[in-house]
């Protein structure tokens, strides 16, 4: 674990953005998430780590109700976003997802122009009054996605023509264009090469100044590099949650220790 470098830890307590209380998820009869309680802070990068199939993606998808699209998926318990239950009957998941953006494992730009990719969210949410407004939003989002300089001359070219790393940053730009408060990322670097990964990681660190970022990763080094808080999942339970430095250097649970030293996974 000597190759791990930790980002400077902001030890001061931040506001809680998302609070999960007693969350259980079933896929049909399979119990995928077992009684998870966790508090995710604002303006912090929180990493979910754990062996494959332990429920990291499942839990992440609960946070913006993407699991609603899976018929057999059943979520119980409370998840509060700014103290409002997102599973309340009155909540429209569409409105929720504008607040809680998501970046997926495989870069998935729309087969449209780079401009339209970013402009789509603001358009359907009516964030721009006119074309100039929209142009501005698109530029701002692309700058935040750290990809503006690479694409500013080819905004009318298809987003699918970019390299993998560029596509993923475009997807991040697309997600931040709707001005979300939380950004969920499910293994955003797993399809990228090391250089693109480094660029995206750098970007995640910048995003922390504005958003609460939750990132699922299978790479412990990555968790160590980008996150301030880390949650370790195992077989559907949240085993340990705490400051990243502490989890990696001084884990409380023997399972966490086994995992980060490479004995389970």
């Amino acid at each position: 674990m000597n190759d791990m470098q930790f980002t400077d830890r902001a030890v001061d307590q931040k506001e809680t953005k998302i609070a999960a209380q007693g969350v259980n998820v079933h896929y049909g009869d399979a119990h995928a998430i077992k009684d998870v309680n966790v508090e995710i802070e604002d303006k912090t990068v929180t990493a979910f780590i754990g062996p494959s199939g332990c429920g990291k993606s499942t839990f992440l998808r609960c946070l913006n109700r993407m699991n609603d699209t899976i018929d057999i998926c059943n979520v119980t318990g409370n998840i509060l976003l700014d103290n409002e239950d997102i599973y309340d009957k009155r909540v429209d998941p569409v409105q929720l997802r504008a607040k809680v953006g998501m970046v997926f494992q495989k870069p998935n730009p729309f087969p449209k122009t780079i401009y339209d990719n970013v402009a789509y969210g603001p358009r359907i949410h009516g964030l721009a009054k006119n074309k100039a407004d929209l142009d501005e939003i698109v530029e701002k989002a692309l700058r935040r996605g750290a990809i503006w300089d690479e694409v500013k001359d080819r905004l009318d070219k298809p987003g699918t023509g970019l390299s993998g790393g560029q596509q993923q940053r475009l997807c991040i730009a697309r997600a931040v264009a709707t001005e979300p408060e939380v950004l969920l990322m499910d293994e955003p670097c797993s399809a990228l090469d090391p250089i693109a990964t480094a660029q995206v990681e750098e970007l995640i660190d910048e995003l922390r100044t504005r958003y609460s970022v939750v990132i699922v990763t299978h790479s412990m080094q990555q968790a160590a590099r980008v996150s301030q808080k880390t949650a370790f999942f195992h077989l559907g339970t949240l085993v340990e949650f705490g400051h990243t430095g502490q989890i990696f250097t001084n884990p409380e649970d023997p399972r966490t220790e086994s995992y980060i030293t490479g004995r389970i996974g």
Binding site: M66, T69, R97, I124
Partner: protein, 441 residues
């Protein structure tokens, strides 16, 4: 390791030899299969074209007709009502005399009577002349050049279908008439030329095969295709989108899915009898109407469109839906903004193939009276086109093929050429669309 077990790469092992031989045999089978397929296609196409191209040519006779005032407008005041009172029967002498005059003008010696001279023209010539006179009453009194259809035996003689040896007991033509035809051909009065009327015209009665065309039946087919397109496409696409994107996956939707697949395999005649029972007997829609034909074909095409649309929707990667939902699009926005445009080429291809199937379908039309109907008038209005009795291309072809006169047989083959041109065009369009928009993500 001993020396004997060491093998050289340059020598083939028995196992490799066996494998290579098997592969060679398989390739030979493949080539043979393709060759057989191509051979059959060639035979089919040459057959159709050698038999059918004749229908696109017709024999015409050019004569000068004197529009006698004494016959056409006895009172001489060019009153249209009076002129209309003269039936086609009254035009017969004019036609007859025009041929007689031509023969005399050319100095041809013949023992034929005036009636037999006129007999080389189609029985439709009088009608053509009458229509002209009613449209141009001011031309009465003048002598005007006309190009009339020759009767079908003369046409057959020029096309090699009718032979001198075989006309012994044919009442429609005699050896003397054929002698005259030979001479008129030499003089350039009788010529064979391209016949647009076959493509645009209406079917004709048994006595006038030379005048029969497929145009009106083509309009019937087109009207049906509009009905099919207008109903099957929106219904099919809506049903598919609902089933694929919105419907919960449960027992009921499973049953619906199985039934749609079953529906695609139902013989078309079943849809025909269903159409007869429901649309005609119960709903009292008119028989032989393209609207009813279109409704029946819609039922038949619907499963094809639903199946291909669902396949096209399934082929759109789920990550596109996730991406749209992830930025806060509603399910409907995700489908209509992102999934549907990507599935559109597939949907279109399926629709075109479904339409092509429907276009060539004959059996269901049997039961709703579109086969055997003689479509003699082109519909004048859109409503007429849908509701007035009509035939359809395949039905017209079947009708011609079963008539006794071999002149109709030739037209059946000609009709098949036209039908095939439509089908090949539609299928080519489908292939082009598919190629053009394939895999854009």
């Amino acid at each position: 390791m001993s020396d004997t077990s060491k093998t050289s790469l340059l020598a083939l092992s028995p196992r490799t030899k066996q494998r290579n031989a098997a592969e060679k045999r398989f390739r030979a089978y493949g080539v043979a299969a393709i060759a057989i397929g191509l051979l059959m296609l060639t035979v089919l196409v040459t057959n159709i074209f050698s038999r059918g191209t004749g229908a696109f040519q017709q024999t015409f006779v050019t004569v000068n007709v004197e529009l006698l005032e004494s016959k056409l407008d006895k009172k001489g005041n060019r009153d249209l009502e009076d002129i209309k009172k003269v039936t086609t029967f009254g035009y017969n002498p004019l036609i007859r005399d025009s041929v007689v005059a031509k023969v005399e003008e050319l100095g041809i010696q013949t023992d034929l009577k005036a009636k037999d001279l006129g007999g080389i023209l189609s029985k439709g010539a009088v009608g053509q002349l009458r229509e002209f006179v009613i449209a141009n009453p001011d031309k009465i009194g003048e002598t005007i050049e006309f190009r009339f259809l020759a009767q079908s035996r003369v046409d057959g003689y020029l096309k090699g279908r009718v032979h001198r040896e075989s006309i012994g007991n044919d009442k429609s033509i005699s050896a003397e008439q054929l002698d005259l035809v030979d001479q008129l051909v030499d003089a350039g009065v009788i010529v064979k030329s391209f016949n647009m009327d076959f493509i645009t015209g209406a079917d004709a009665s048994d006595q006038r095969p030379e005048a029969a065309g497929i145009g009106v039946a083509m309009l019937g087919s087109l009207s049906m295709m509009f009905v099919v397109l207008g109903l099957a496409l929106p219904i099919g696409v809506a049903a598919s989108i609902y089933l694929e994107e919105f419907a919960p996956k449960n027992r009921l939707t499973d049953i619906i899915e199985v039934n749609i697949s079953n529906l695609a395999a139902v013989p078309s005649i079943v849809f025909g009898i269903l159409g007869l029972a429901v649309f005609i007997n119960y709903m009292h829609l008119p028989t032989s109407a393209p609207l009813v034909g279109g409704l029946v074909l819609t039922l038949m095409t619907l499963p094809t469109i639903i199946i291909s649309t669902r396949a096209a929707l399934k082929a759109v990667p789920p990550s596109i839906r996730d991406a749209a939902l992830g930025v806060g699009a509603s399910k409907m926005q995700a489908v209509f903004h992102h999934v549907l445009p990507l599935a559109a080429p597939g949907i279109l291809t399926g629709t075109i193939i479904g339409l092509a199937q429907a276009l060539g379908e004959t059996a269901p039309l049997l039961l709703i009276g579109m086969v055997g109907f003689i479509a003699s008038n082109a519909p004048e209005t859109l409503a007429d086109g849908l509701l007035a009795p009509n035939s359809a291309m395949p039905a017209q072809i079947y009708e011609w093929a079963k008539r006794a006169d071999p002149a109709f047989y030739e037209r059946a083959w000609g009709g098949i050429i036209i039908l095939l041109v439509f089908l090949v065009t539609m299928n080519t369009l489908a292939v082009i669309l598919r190629r053009r928009f394939e895999r854009r993500w």
